[in-house]
Point group: C2
Chain length 351, copies 2
């Protein structure tokens, strides 16, 4: 019996990461362009005393049971999704993704068919996101999963500022925008779980769960327009906005009525459930950006809407408050995400 088990569960992912970084001491690279704690790390690739390209890199792990289930997606879907989730971290930095390194864990019941499906899904995900596999490793394990490291590049501006989206880049007065629609992936999973994945209208939601798309072009366009704050929506809208608020030492207010819930999710699951999934469901891999109103609106394309959903305020630094049109503060259902980021206090700012 190990006495610490409960302490580990109590800590949670983010406290655990903080603990590890503290224990690493000066083995953590705190002086690079983007140190541990953002969507990806970045460092200068030249020896020059000024300027030079930036390398942007990130690592993720997806394992069966925790991040995917074989009864809701094929191994090809798993391969695609792992690529998309990883590339999304570079998109969230506004970087240009280039190469992936992939470590594959094969559980005891893995088959050649599984490997083939995984490889096909990875190839399709690479094509869709404009990246290629530069190397990898394959190991036997008690679980099946993938760990992917993605590597991309970014530049410095003419005045030597890293052209990157940062979690800490939100400024008071910024508007907050989100791309696409939110909650589709979680709605797709909920429908599959309810045996409703084949219902009319469900296909797009199921696809959002199995074949999400990272917003690479949007991230790069945002950086080119001098937007400097962003994150991808992987943990759920409110939690991811919480990361921005915390890192930027600002408050964020969200107008629930503006959140672009997927219409099929609302139609099939009801408006409230669809909203809950949008705010807490995560894994849509849309981008959350803050910046000037006109700049954010100007990022919208015919393929991808960009919707203003809130604003950055000086009040309640580190906290996100989401409120309804009647002024009520949103109280999330007891789901997987960290409530400490969303302590409502009745504040009634407007997006």
């Amino acid at each position: 019996m190990r006495p610490e088990d409960s302490r580990l569960n109590d800590l949670g992912e983010f406290a655990l990461i903080d603990r590890i970084v503290a224990l690493l001491g000066d083995a953590a690279a705190r002086d690079i362009v983007v140190p541990p704690g953002d969507d990806a790390a970045a460092w200068t690739t030249s020896d020059g005393t000024h300027g030079g390209d930036l390398a942007v890199a990130t690592i993720d792990a997806l394992v069966e049971g925790t991040h995917f289930r074989r009864d809701t997606m094929s191994m090809a879907d798993v391969g695609w999704r792992a690529v998309a989730a990883n590339v999304s971290d570079l998109a969230a930095m506004g970087a240009e993704p280039q190469y992936l390194l992939i470590a594959t864990l094969l559980g005891p019941d893995a088959t050649v068919e599984d490997i083939d499906g995984l490889a096909r899904g990875i190839a399709e995900g690479c094509h869709a996101h404009g990246v290629r596999v530069a190397g990898g490793d394959i190991v036997r394990a008690t679980t099946t999963g993938l760990s992917i490291a993605a590597y991309g590049r970014a530049r410095r501006t003419a005045d030597d500022i890293p052209a990157l989206l940062r979690r800490g880049g939100a400024r008071v007065g910024d508007r907050v925008a989100v791309s696409g629609t939110i909650g589709a992936a979680a709605a797709g999973l909920a429908l599959i779980d309810a045996g409703r994945g084949d219902e009319a209208g469900a296909a797009e939601l199921v696809r959002a769960h199995r074949r999400p798309v990272a917003r690479v072009a949007l991230g790069r366009a945002a950086v080119a327009q001098d937007v400097r704050c962003g994150i991808d929506c992987s943990d759920g809208l409110l939690q991811d906005l919480g990361h921005l608020a915390e890192r930027s030492h600002v408050g964020i207010e969200v107008a629930l009525a503006q959140v672009p819930v997927h219409p099929a999710a609302a139609a099939l699951l009801g408006a409230q459930a669809a909203l809950d999934l949008a705010l807490g469901g995560g894994e849509d891999f849309e981008l959350l950006l803050t910046g000037e109103r006109d700049t954010l609106i100007g990022l919208e394309t015919v393929d991808l809407p960009v919707t203003l959903i809130g604003r950055v305020v000086a009040e309640h630094p580190g906290e996100v408050i989401a409120w309804a049109e009647d002024g009520a503060v949103y109280e999330p259902p007891q789901r997987g995400w960290d409530q400490t980021r969303h302590r409502g206090d009745g504040h009634t700012g407007r997006a």
Copy 2:
């Protein structure tokens, strides 16, 4: 019942990797400076039409049960070892390691103490190898393990040749050298398993198992002396030489009497067992290099011997033959490594 299970086991790691790379099609980056298949991948980091620094990158996964056991090493040892094994792939390219990205998998019985030990071991491994952690991820899984991606850099020479050690760089007439002593890590593990880890003389072998050191300085010195072929000894001396022979389309002959077996292993386990562990045991992370005799000898330092053990020949391309002083060809015991690399044919070249 899945019918393909046995096929997967029959395929083996290397055939599986070839299969995956084939399925990736043009999603595999075949046109970069070092494509999939070497110790690490390498690509140019500048947009320039010539020259430019090279990024060198690799990924590995270590999981409990397959790559480490909690009864032979502490979690701090696991952390150190994961860093060393990963950095070794960059050392084997002659690259300068810089940054690590670390994905940590926490099994159901992981404790806060485990995490703390892991972080301390990673920090110690980073200090020993001159690298730092730039980012990471931490996930719940059914197994405990680490996936590490390492990033480093290398240069092009004045005549625009990548200054790297390649598996395919061996030339007929080259001598073959190995650094340090071989078989120490496997001997240390064998002694622990036999309950003999505390015996006099065992400490250095046990340490080689728990705290191996990647040969970063040697790899860089070799590249600086225009050595262009190398690999790290991670799968076992004969198997790793087999990779060089196969990639370089040459034969390799090894003189068993020259192989620098660790003296403590021979003393504690007997000469034949120590030799078997040296040739097949792996995980020493010493470097295997081929090149001109005087160049290889000149790489030796007061801290690290470099021993000539064989030569590169035109005969039996893709195969390694190891022979004793009496002319007998070495027949390995039936252990984990791939016999197809070592088909002896009685050839009697001399190192």
